[in-house]
Amino acid sequence: MMYRYFHQSKKSLCLSVLLIVVCVSPLCASLIQNDTIPRGIAAGGTTYTSYGNFHMKFTIPDTLSFLLAKTTDSTNTEVITDYAIADAGVNVAVANLILVSRAAMNTSFTFLFSWNELKQTPDIGNAISYMVAFRDSANTLNKPATGTKILSYTYVKADSDYTSTKLGSVIVNMDEDSYQSALSGEYSDTITVTLQGEG
């Protein structure tokens, strides 16, 4: 009986050692694989090897801006903030709408123009009504709906030019009757242009 117990103990010992070896073998292999192995080549006569591939990357961030530039500006960079209207009853180009975007072709941009009326300074209740329109690069005059003071214009990018692009001209047409009957003085208003969405 003692012999059997001793014999079984030896078997258990052997089994345990075997289990330990089985368990630690992958660990041992893992340790070897994770050691610092010099990348490169073992020479001996002529040896050719591929180091491998890697990537060089250059990232251009997306930019999106627009501006109202002088109509006489050939560089599309001269921002205009004031324009003196001299004529009534005619379409006057007061600014160029310039878009700067690195968006891809077929991306659409919607601009919203809003305005009120030309009010006398100081404001004593006198005003001259006027209309804002947009003449696009195809020479189409985009007008607001009758009686409204808001205009929406959507531009769809038609090329891969990511530099400044002139989309068209902002047009102002001062109401002639309103102008003729107005008292003398300086009248002014602010046209607000908002890039409403990009898609």
């Binding site: 080549i41 020479a43 990232t59 251009i60």
Partner: protein, 209 residues
């Protein structure tokens, strides 16, 4: 006999009862035998901060728009295999070949120029420079040649190969060479390029003899 049985009984009672649920520990050590410096060479790509790049991506800086900007370095070291030239001169040589795919995002490509510049060369503890150095009464000189020093990569992949030869060499001295690779992006095309990440794949092949 009784004494013997008693002794055996006592001995048996001291043997622990093993079972598979026992928890044991065992210390494992592993040693990796690195390649001998004899007849071996190691090539690696480094960042401009001299950090081993592995096979990670390397970023081209904005400074590369319109002017050459150092983009990555390479490092070679090894004790090379002596060859005998026709005139009896002993020499060792290595060449490194780069292939660059166009820097592109989808179908959009930014043309680039790539310039290769040598840095320092040492043999053992001696700096060789362009005119070489005398080590152990033997004059060692390292020469280099590029098939093209500046590479233009536009719409198609381009390859440049450099060959470095060390004459008067002797087994046992460690030859080290480093170089820098500069990139210049076409300014007009980079400024007018669409937003996104432009990628060029660089394939490096090293030959030693």
């Amino acid at each position: 006999m009784k004494k013997a049985l008693l002794l055996l009984l006592l001995t048996a009672s001291m043997i622990p009862a093993w079972s598979i649920s026992d928890t044991e520990t065992m210390r494992i050590t592993a040693h990796y035998n690195k390649i001998s410096t004899q007849r071996s060479a190691v090539f690696s790509i480094l960042t401009t901060n001299n950090v081993d790049n592995g096979n990670s991506d390397i970023t081209i800086s904005n400074a590369a728009i319109g002017s050459l900007a150092e983009t990555f370095r390479w490092n070679f070291s090894g004790t090379l295999y002596n060859q005998t030239a026709a005139d009896g001169t002993l020499y060792s040589s290595m060449s490194v070949s780069y292939q660059f795919s166009p820097l592109q995002n989808g179908t959009n490509v930014i043309p680039m120029d790539i310039s290769f510049e040598p840095n320092y060369t040492t043999l053992g503890s001696s700096y060789l420079g362009q005119s070489g150095a005398t080590v152990g009464n033997v004059n060692y000189k390292d020469t280099q040649s590029w098939t093209t020093k500046t590479l233009s990569v536009d719409e198609t992949a381009q390859t440049a190969t450099a060959t470095y030869t060390l004459t008067g060499t002797d087994n046992g001295l460690l030859w080290k060479r480093t170089g820098s690779v500069y990139v210049k992006l076409d300014q007009a095309r980079a400024n007018s390029a669409g937003a996104g990440t432009y990628v060029s794949t660089v394939t490096v092949t090293v030959a030693v003899c």
